[in-house]
Symmetry: C2
Subunit: 220 residues, 2 copies
């Protein structure tokens, strides 16, 4: 039995975060693909509170929530650090990770998947959030310091999934005219060595989200 | 000039979290009371993204978001640990802190301050969340291990502020019949030595929230 198992969904940015952290550390793991329409007893038993992926199971003990799993991986396994060493830089990395993970994803999710007034309001708010990121990322390759790390991993949805979601939904939130620094960062991000070979297929993801938006738009 | 400053609001549970962590570590600090209707230039400049309290300023460097500040305090200052030492226990502490800080507070906020359908739905969801906490707290004094720590500090709103908010709003979410373990934990919590002397006055808080609910209910 593998010492480290990951219950996830291979197309999910949240699963990928954990996979990227395990790869940085060089930890071997067994990936167990979950069907979210028919969750496994192991998932329900491992994360009874949220019943969500990803869940890391290490020596039989489950850990939930992608960013908490990243902290656990960083504290448990040898290898390159995921969080910076300096406490102030760690606080900055956690700050941006939280901003990306909670604030941006919630708001952009409403902009893309919401309807009517809720979606319109979220589009305006998304623009404000993207402006903050655009300002922060001016002349920067990574969120904190010189290494790809905690906040960068948290940014994967914004850097890769967002563009595909925009294409599938027809809702465009990001343009290089409005957010040039964000776009430059995004292009560099998806081509950097830590990310490029570990991304899911763009075509598969696009087809997946196109089906999802078409199903949502179909008359009931 | 004090090395450690805290920009906060003395009635806020989020400010208190940081004060409690500083007291556990024995760190001296200057508390600067903010007026949220008229935020100081120092607050706006220290936390330009969220423009919210609390902000800890250590040697001139600002750190925002109460739970991120707690991690910073634990990593920076000597004294008793706020997070447990074991990585798995640390993950559990972060898990419950996140559940309390994000999930419970958002939902209970909507139940108490929301209107109509939104409030009704949030009341039902609050009941589910309280059931999870009630189950978790059976025969437990602290969330993780034998010491008052990270998750317990995150729980301060649920343990103390919630009862006062219920009284001020007239919306009762917690009864000892429905949630006996939660109520037993709550009584012990507000009387424990780490908390008791550092709570704001119940009467002052009650008057504050009564005014707030009356103002919200008044015809515009």
């Amino acid at each position: 039995m593998a010492e480290v198992k990951l219950l996830g969904v291979s197309l999910s940015p949240f699963s990928r975060r954990v996979e990227w952290a395990l790869k940085i550390k060089g930890v071997e793991y067994e990936f167990i693909e979950e069907d979210l329409q028919n969750k496994s007893p192991l998932l329900l038993q491992s994360n009874p509170v949220h019943q969500k992926i990803p869940v890391l199971i290490h020596n039989g003990k489950p850990i939930s929530e992608s960013m908490i799993i990243l902290e656990y991986i960083d504290e448990t396994f040898e290898g390159p650090s995921i969080l910076p060493k300096d406490p102030y830089d760690r606080a900055l990395a956690r700050f941006w990770a939280n901003f990306l993970d909670v604030k941006c994803i919630t708001t952009i999710g409403k902009a893309l998947f919401g309807k009517g007034e809720e979606s319109d309001k979220a589009k305006e708010e998304s623009s404000e959030l993207l402006k903050i990121l655009d300002n922060e990322l001016k002349d920067k390759k990574f969120f904190v310091g010189d290494n790809f790390g905690f906040a960068d991993i948290a940014a994967n949805l914004m850097a890769f999934w967002l563009g595909i979601l925009e294409e599938a939904s027809g809702v465009i939130l990001v343009t290089s005219e409005k957010f040039p620094n964000f776009c430059a960062w995004k292009d560099e991000y998806i081509n950097c060595s830590q990310v490029k070979e570990y991304l899911p297929s763009r075509d598969v993801l696009l087809a997946h989200f196109q089906t999802r938006f078409q199903t949502a738009a179909a008359p009931k």
